[in-house]
Amino acid sequence: MPLRPLQQPQPMLKILKYSFYDLIRSRWSYVYFLFYLLLGFVLLFLNNDVSKAIITLMNIIIILVPLIGTIFGIMYFYNSKEFTELLLAQPIKRSSIFLGQYLGVAGSLTLSLVLGLGIPFVLYGLLRSDAIFNFSMLLVVGAFLTLIFTALSFNLALSNENKIKGFGYAVLLWLFLAVIYDGLFLMSLIFFEDYPLDNFSLLATLLNPIDLSRTLILLKLDISALLGYTGAVFKAFFGTNQGLIVSIGMLVLWTVLPIWRLLAKSKKKDF
């Protein structure tokens, strides 16, 4: 059989590569990576309890990963305006340009997270412990949150020519999903305490990617007993395979929908 010529890598992969290298050469990627590295070492070797370390890590990751994803995403998009315009005049599809840049940013952030936390845990001997599954869950959730919030911030940047406005919206979005949403949720629980709220709580948790991630990890850690009756209801839902699939499905949806909007909007935009 004759040899086929090697196929050229797709333009999208090339743009991903350039964005990725561009970012991993920047100082902030190292700061982000070293932060997790340090955090991992400190928590494991001072704590000596993998489960507790994972809970502390979770509390940090749940808040920090969305924040960094949002800020990095929006800054990268605005800062690479020139690069984007250069690419738009080249024979490359628009969706390849934006998907490539997005995956470059999200990929480098995920790499910082996974390597930064993975290295101390591997050195600690995690691979031989039972906590490996919980820990992987933490990394999967962290990766999802990076993908989701980078995609959301790219959307905001694409829709707002004004950097200050775009940046403001991005911070507000993070604040809403990380802090205000929980406040509203709790207040509604108190306000409607006379009514059965199990399904409402479940739904409200499913709809916010940060709450959903937190719940997924907590339930994996088998400390749902601490959560009382609602915890039991949650355990009954999220603890099952079906619940896990629905949750992962929701995270996938949170990732795919913003990416889809990003690509659809970018097709109609003027540069």
Binding site: P11, S80, L86, L88, A89, P91, D270
Partner: protein
């Protein structure tokens, strides 16, 4: 080569192009002129697919360009403002564009023509405006494509580089290429252009040779002719 029909574009409430029709024949240098804000760059960016028109048809070589991207393989573009990713080196930028286009290129001659060798390892953010423009020119001329679109190619160039640019344009024209140029330097336009395309209020107000323009406006030099064109009745 390029066929533009009934092109409309507005940005918000600002109407930039309103029913523009233009036919650019194969070969030769076409100067797209017009006052500031007359839609020159918008027209060029519409041809490149960077701006999406509200209405109208653009075809290149008989094929509509709507929602297409492969046709840009046949176009080289020099943007008006030479903005590049600042943390890249000149060499890396050239290599990247070559990698993305996957076509034979001849950047060495251009680099020596514009004496860019000492800057190859410098980061783009550290270059002066004129040097950036030279890099811009190298990127726009290094592939062999039938259509060249140059938005203000003279901006920031020193006299020696300007002469090199004119020679380069003559050479490319001799190869039978179609070249679209916008410029506000009338002396440069008078020297290089074969056809003048004058934009006013979102339409083509005049298209023809420099001599025809002088005749029409009763002026003896291009600068005054261009200045007078808008006040001359269209049917004069």
């Amino acid at each position: 080569m390029i066929h533009v029909q009934n092109l409309h574009k507005k940005f918000g409430k600002n109407i930039v192009l309103s029913g523009l029709d233009l036919h650019i024949e194969d070969g030769g240098i076409f100067a797209v002129l017009g006052p500031n804000g007359s839609g020159k760059t918008t027209l060029i960016k519409s041809i490149l697919g960077m701006v999406v028109p509200n209405k109208g048809e653009i075809s290149i070589g008989g094929n509509s360009i709507k929602n297409k991207w492969k046709y840009r393989q046949e176009i080289e573009y020099l943007p008006q403002i030479a903005n590049f990713p600042g943390n890249l080196r000149v060499k890396e930028l050239i290599r990247m564009i070559k990698d993305l286009r996957q076509r034979p290129s001849e950047e060495e001659d251009l680099i020596s023509l514009f004496k860019l060798e000492p800057f190859l390892d410098k980061k783009l953010a550290t270059l002066s405006g004129g040097t950036k423009q030279k890099v811009n020119i190298v990127l726009a001329f290094m592939f062999d494509t039938p259509l060249l679109i140059l938005d203000e190619p003279t901006s920031g160039l020193d006299p020696a580089s300007l002469i090199s640019l004119k020679e380069l344009l003559k050479k490319e024209k001799a190869k039978g290429k179609t070249i679209l140029i916008t410029s506000h330097i009338m002396q440069f336009v008078a020297e290089v252009a074969d056809t003048i395309v004058y934009l006013l209020e979102g339409k083509i107000y005049f298209k023809g040779s420099i001599n025809e323009l002088m005749l029409k406006t009763q002026q003896t030099d291009l600068e005054h002719a261009i200045a007078a064109i808008a006040t001359t009745p269209a049917d004069a």
